[in-house]
């Protein structure tokens, strides 16, 4: 691992309203690492992303992204929204959709004879997410998982060092989930750091290097067995929690052994 982390957060607090969504949150993101950002709905996963992008100001603590202030690093960070948030009657083909991110921060218009580099970058991105077959298909005819892979390809076209995935697995069937997770895993092997938000840690257990768990306005980062365990989760939620491991999967329950209630499934 490199000495210099891509992101260093030291006791940060952030939020849009009167109260902070999370406080005293500390973690490091190493280059090329896979971080699962886990927590129930409303725990502040999206707020954390907005903070990392410099869209929401810090309330406390110190945060550096690529050695500087978050806003200055935005060109090296890509954000992948949920596929379901996009217009589903978009008539464009996959290749056009992916191309849209190429040099998007520049003004002006690409000229038809200068498109070689763009075509090459888009081809590579489509290849990486195993979506060459989607290049000529209309977005409106694609499934959620196929659109999610095109969104990842679009993020890759801007050549980022870090990609933030916002709940990419929601509304996908298990096969499509596995495919999105393995694509994200491939990216880390190319040196791109991934922060992958999900309310269920199980689909990413086999690929993640660390877990960043947000709950009850607090958060903890560490290895899977340090975080998804009775003691840490009970501290975070502020109430007794139980973790049951079964066939390599982890299930989080609220309460004592007698009355268990599933959380975040």
């Amino acid at each position: 691992m490199a000495d210099e982390p891509l992101i260093r957060a030291q006791r940060i607090a952030a939020g849009k309203g009167a109260a902070s969504v999370f406080e005293a949150l500390s973690f490091d993101i190493a280059p090329g690492s896979f971080t699962a950002l886990v927590g129930p709905n409303g725990a502040g996963k999206t707020s954390l992303f907005e903070t990392l992008l410099g869209l929401v100001p810090l309330r406390a603590g110190k945060l550096t992204v690529m050695g500087g202030r978050p806003r200055r690093a935005r060109r090296y960070v890509a954000y992948v929204p949920q596929a379901s948030k996009l217009l589903n009657d978009n008539a464009l083909i996959g290749r056009e959709f992916v191309s849209a991110a190429y040099h998007a921060h520049r003004w002006g218009m690409p000229l038809p004879f200068g498109l070689r580099h763009q075509t090459q970058a888009v081809d590579e991105a489509l290849e990486t997410v195993e979506a060459r077959d989607l290049a000529r298909r209309r977005l409106s005819t694609l499934s959620g998982g196929q659109r999610q892979r095109l969104l990842i390809a679009q993020a890759l076209v801007s050549d980022p060092s870090l990609i933030l995935f916002d709940e990419p697995l929601s509304q996908l069937d298990p096969a499509a989930r596995d495919r999105v997770v393995s694509v994200a895993d491939v990216l880390t092997r190319r040196g791109i750091a991934v922060i992958f938000s999900t309310h269920d840690v199980n689909p990413v257990l086999r690929v993640c290097d660390q877990v960043l768990y947000l709950a009850g306005g607090r958060g903890r980062a560490g290895r899977v067995d340090e975080i998804i365990c009775d003691r840490t989760l009970s501290e975070l939620y502020g109430t007794p929690m139980r973790v049951i491991s079964e066939e390599g999967r982890r299930f989080v329950f609220e309460g004592s052994q007698r009355r268990l209630q599933a959380v975040g499934q």
Partner: protein, 277 residues
Amino acid sequence: MTVPEFLRYDFMQNAFLATTIIAVMGSLVGYFVVLRRQAFGSHALSNIGFAGAAGASLIGAEPMVGLLVFVLGAALLMAWSGRNVGERDVSVGMILMFSLGLGALFINLYSANANAAIGILFGSVFGIDASQIRWITITSLVVLAGLVAIFRPLRFASLNPDAARARGIPVSLIDTLFLLLLGAASAIAVPVIGALLSFAIFIGPASAAQAWSGRIGVGLALTVLLSLVESLGGLIISYYANLPASSCIAALSFGLYALSRMTRYASPGFFLPRLRG
């Protein structure tokens, strides 16, 4: 070279020139309107022009100036008044309603010529004069230059606004600039096609082109081609059949749109005769 009969008159030459410019510029802006699902905003901006033109006539000012001032002001209000589309639909409708009320008032006060209202609402392309041609040309060049200038960020922000914002692209600024370009385009299109019929140039060709091509470059070229066929074809039909020009353009625009819905997603080969058995 022989000049066709319909081009021998000055008013017809002006009509052709104005229609050609509006057809090219309006349909290119319209391509992004369709891509961004802002058809209602586009319709509203043209109709808001009604109040501007009527107000300018009332105080004896150049109608083009009234149109531009009113429509650009409304575009700014729209950009201001809400980010998400659902929220925007209501505020756009309210701005439209208020300005139509103002327009009705201006027409009522300017009782000298009630026909003025018909001209604004349904267009009066055969009444375009040289001064209007100048306004149309200059404004169109500005709008096209603006569209070229914001093309890359506009494309990304239209297709994936959340990712664009994360990348540091000023999405709200791009939204506002685009609405201003659309406003200027709508304002100068009003005398040609009419406030009520602007869909014929802004929405019809672009949505047909998007049904037939999923590529932006091809789509833009096809949009311009369809728009020219519809509007110049409409003018010629109107001359020979002695029908209102706007009605002919609207009918052609609707016809091509309907055809595009029926043959949507067909490959280009669909339209070609089969050469091999």
